[in-house]
Amino acid sequence: MISLRISNLTVYYDLNPILIDIYLEFESGKIYGIVGPNGAGKSTLLKSILELVNYEEGDIVFFENKRFREIKEKVAYIPQKEIIDWDYPITVFELVLLGRYVHTGILGRISKFDREIAINALKKMNIYELKEKQISELSGGQQQRALIARAICQDAQLYLLDEPFVGVDIITERKLFEIFQELKKENKTLIIVDHDLARVQKYDELVFLNRKVIAKGKPKDVLSSENILDLYSEKLII
């Protein structure tokens, strides 16, 4: 099934084009890597999908024909770790439970059922023992897992991850990929923004993005010196 279809997307910031005429389709049960240099518009692409930025032109639909507002609980955004206030007084359990808020609303009560879902998400991410810790006490890898647990708790189908490997050691990176593989088995769609070529082989599908889509497809098809030069070249032919 197609989880997300982006067609004809163009985004400007002031008068500069950040994304130009993007056509992309993402299927469920796959891990996608969106790779490109800094300033290539990767985060902007995620933000456009999430309607956090306005786009001049284009169309973004989820699960065949739904708008973001209609299926917002099915889409989880896992932002770059740095933008989270890790000193905020909140426990790991409460952080994960935030994922239920999209279902209960602000005024609704958190039920026993919601708590159970949160506990299952914690167990799945192997951080159940840490549930009463304050989030500031977690290591980098545990923080990342807590954020993913929140997305699982939300019961998302489509995961958008912005640079999950930044500031993460190689051990944690492996762990994260194991987690992604598990989610993939459950037929989730994972779209991972990555600035580095080091991990490209691990994705099912790659999108080389530098304001435009430079190449897309399986890693073995996309990885060519021509494409890589295109991707990292300063000059962009519009």
Partner: protein
């Protein structure tokens, strides 16, 4: 202790201050987590022109105070959003501009009806019945709003993006929180005056931040510590003849300083103790490893000098049987884990010294993954 309670003015001051203390504690953690302390300060200074204008227009002071507080908050937000000036500068401009305007108007009208000193530094002992009602109404609004929208305020202050993604009203919450801050400032001004109002709004939360890991606990403890502070402040004002506002704020500050040192979560002394314990633990682990390596070569108790054997026995690391040292299963597991971790790190990083350090931080999980990585390298 009982003597001042005979006076109606003292009782009234006590009751009002306690209500204000509780009210401020409900706002405090949100103000701090949003890094809006300076906004609280700007809003409290903006109360002054409001009071002055209200006097000229002959409307209740409260309405003037809240109106000018909100106008200032919006003005500051406008500067921040529409210009290149950063938030702290915008707040500085709003704060000093509003305060100057207030002082200027006061100096023109020169009335005896408003005591500038009391507005600036508070005089809760001279409180009127109308103030008690005002403070109670504000307390009711704030406490009910925070309790009803608690989840929303936590999500909004913790992760604004998620709040928006979940389709909740971002702008509405921003302005609602600003309004709640504005009215809580007005009530804090009654107790400690304009200049010190921000203390009542930030110190209780700051103390809680150092101790607790949940907003709800910070609110509860903040209320507790502020009530103690206002009571102590009023008594010291009565007996020592200190101004009540400064007395309250000094006591709160003292509580903060004490917490900073002895907080079990993150106090300075706690951190020193923790570092010391960690160092000791590493020393112990090194000794255990050494002992284990020696005991593998058939070491007996007579050969050991300088290591307090009985302490290892006490910890359940070793047993002594007929003069022979034997590791307990627990001791064996620990020693072997250290040795394996060391070997793995050394072959991974090619550095003995680094491995010597990292072995102390490696649990089963790290060892397993490290092992996998090394295997896949071969």
């Amino acid at each position: 202790m009982i003597e001042p309670l005979q006076y109606e003015f003292f009782l009234r001051a006590l009751l009002t201050s306690i209500i204000i203390a509780i009210t401020s504690s409900f706002i405090s953690p949100f103000l701090i987590s949003k890094r809006w302390s300076l906004l609280g300060d700007a809003i409290s200074h903006a109360v002054l022109p409001g009071i002055a204008i209200a006097y000229i227009l002959k409307i209740p002071f409260f309405i003037g105070a809240v109106t000018s507080a909100i106008i200032t908050a919006i003005f500051v937000g406008f500067i921040e959003n529409k210009t290149k000036v950063k938030g702290d500068t915008a707040l500085g401009i709003g704060l000093s501009g509003a305060f100057a305007l207030g002082i200027a108007i006061m100096s023109i009208i020169r009335t005896k009806d408003i005591d500038l000193y009391h507005i600036l530094f508070g005089n809760v002992l001279a409180i009127r019945n109308s103030d008690v009602i005002l403070v109670s109404v504000i307390a009711f609004i704030i406490i009910v709003s925070i309790l009803a929208l608690y989840k929303g305020f936590v999500l909004w202050t913790f992760n604004n993006t998620l709040f928006k993604l979940y389709g909740f009203p971002d702008e509405l919450f921003r302005y609602f929180l600003i309004i709640l801050i504005s009215i809580s400032v007005v009530s804090a001004v009654v107790a400690v005056g304009i200049v010190l109002a921000v203390a009542l709004l930030i110190i209780p939360g700051a103390i809680g931040y150092l101790i607790f890991k949940r907003i709800s606990d910070i609110i509860k403890f903040g209320a507790f510590i502020s009530i103690i502070s206002v009571v102590l402040g009023l008594y010291s004002s009565y007996y020592l003849n200190v101004s009540s506002g400064p007395a309250i704020v000094i006591i709160l500050t003292i509580f903060f300083i004490i917490t900073m040192f002895i907080s079990p979560k993150d106090g300075i002394i706690t951190r020193i103790i923790r570092t010391y314990k960690r160092k000791k633990q590493i020393e112990w682990q090194d000794k255990i490893k050494l002992l284990y390596e020696l005991s593998e070569n058939g070491l007996s108790i007579e050969n050991i000098k300088g290591i307090k054997i009985f302490e290892f026995v006490k910890l359940g690391i070793i047993e002594i049987d007929k003069g022979k040292i034997k590791f307990t299963p627990k001791g064996k597991e620990l020693a072997q884990r250290l040795i394996i971790a060391h070997e793995l790190w050394e072959s991974y990083l090619k550095s003995h010294n680094v491995a010597e350090k990292l072995e102390h931080y490696s649990d089963e999980e790290i060892i397993k993954i490290l092992n996998d990585i090394l295997k896949s390298k071969d």
